[in-house]
Symmetry: C2
DNA sequence: ATAAAAATATGCTGTTAAGCATCTACGGTT
DNA sequence: AACCGTAGATGCTTAACAGCATATTTTTAT
């Protein structure tokens, strides 16, 4: 989108800061294969089935990564926050994407061209090891998530999602409001339930004064109880 | 178990074959930090919460890796087959184990001491990249599995598990019998259902001549239909 | 060989959450 | 401001599956 001025150099520096132990020559190489683009809320960044073009980084905004399940019911598998990578799994596994990425708000994303990055990785063991570690951590999350989504009851799943969103995006200055505004449908798709049940369960938690609702603004009033609901409910 | 003669050298060569691009010096180093042990059916190899001692490799036998869920209901997150690694996620993520590994039959496992391996990885980018790729692939599996376990119906989940077991352990010489003999409970824990429902659903598939049951022996009579049930049921 | 324990089979009941349908509130467009 | 479309709220009904009880078979230990 040419009408938006993106400070590519700032974005580049921010993205590079995510890499550790980058040699000057490697940094130059990345600079030459680095692109930025402005993405509108609701726009798709990549789709399930597509070939990964490179390493994608979220510089500004929020992005959900989801898989379409049986009967058009989506499951959100990841929420990206700035500054951080996403959509790298498929690239490293040498596979097509197995999920779709969509901007939740107007965002700026950067891409490092695939071959450029792979070349660097093949000679920089430290960097490769660093990424390996991230993948191992994420695999742990994913395994935990499988247990959560299959075994916890609706209230527990929703409570966990709210805590997850708080931990991922933080709180507003009031120290209570979760810094992300999701539709009830997205909240449902994150927590493996129908939209109706997300609405119902949110109302329930609100009636019990565990949370407070104001449209899509969600305030956590009683984090301790929410945590208990997540762990035992 | 000293009364069992394990051919450590053969095991060592088999394990090394899993690594690609191993330099002679690195191989020597691994040999010096390589141990083997005999594990009885039902024995625990590592437990949820423990510190990973090193890279574990299954040389002979079968191993399940599971997480204890809410209310003592386990979820099997991985099935290891020889010759292959398991329990490496926690080590690479620098975390304690988040699951328990138990031998499904008498097995031989080998361990490469942790620091030894990490040292090699930090200088061998090719090898590190290879492992990175494996982790990325496994993360894809895990994400797919989350969708399956949460969205498919019982029949679909069980059918998928049977196909998964066939693909993991292969078939007996008759070309039909799955080469692993799990309890109904393990089958249930693999498919996210109660033992009762695993038994019921297996009986159902047997009545429909999709599979044949003889104790723990499971024959796939109609792989095409089983596949359809997995994908649509 | 026999007792005890574990695994398997099967039926019945209850709960959870999905599937709908209906109604209301809100947001963006003309 | 009036319109439309989407999102949110809420109630009712039903399907899927868990939970439990009991019976039977198989395995393990002594």
């Amino acid at each position: 989108m040419a009408h938006h001025n993106i400070d590519v150099q700032s974005a580049f520096e921010a993205v590079c800061a995510l890499f550790h132990n980058l040699k000057p020559r490697e940094k130059e190489k990345i600079r030459a294969n680095f692109t930025c683009s402005y993405i509108r809320r609701g726009e798709i960044i990549f789709r399930d089935g597509e070939v990964p073009s490179g390493l994608v980084c979220l510089y500004k905004g929020k992005v959900k990564i989801f898989k379409e399940g049986v009967g058009g019911r989506d499951q959100i598998v990841r929420m990206a926050r700035p500054v951080g990578f996403f959509g790298y799994r498929a690239m490293f596994a040498d596979e097509n994407h197995i999920a779709t990425a969509e901007a939740l708000e107007d965002s700026i994303i950067c891409t490092i061209e695939r071959d450029c990055l792979l070349e660097i990785l093949k000679t920089n063991a430290n960097l490769t090891f660093h990424i390996l570690k991230s993948l191992a951590t994420e695999l742990g999350f994913s395994n935990n998530r499988t247990i959560t989504l299959t075994q916890k009851h609706i209230r527990g799943r929703l409570a966990e999602s709210l805590l997850f969103l708080r931990d991922t995006y933080g709180l507003e200055d009031d120290g209570q409001t979760i810094k992300v505004y999701l539709s009830r449908e997205d909240l449902a798709n994150l927590s493996n339930m129908t939209t109706s049940n997300a609405i119902r369960t949110l109302s329930g938690l609100c009636n019990e004064s565990v949370i407070d609702l104001d449209g899509r603004r969600i305030k956590i009033l009683d984090a301790y109880r929410l945590d208990r609901i997540s762990n035992l409910g």
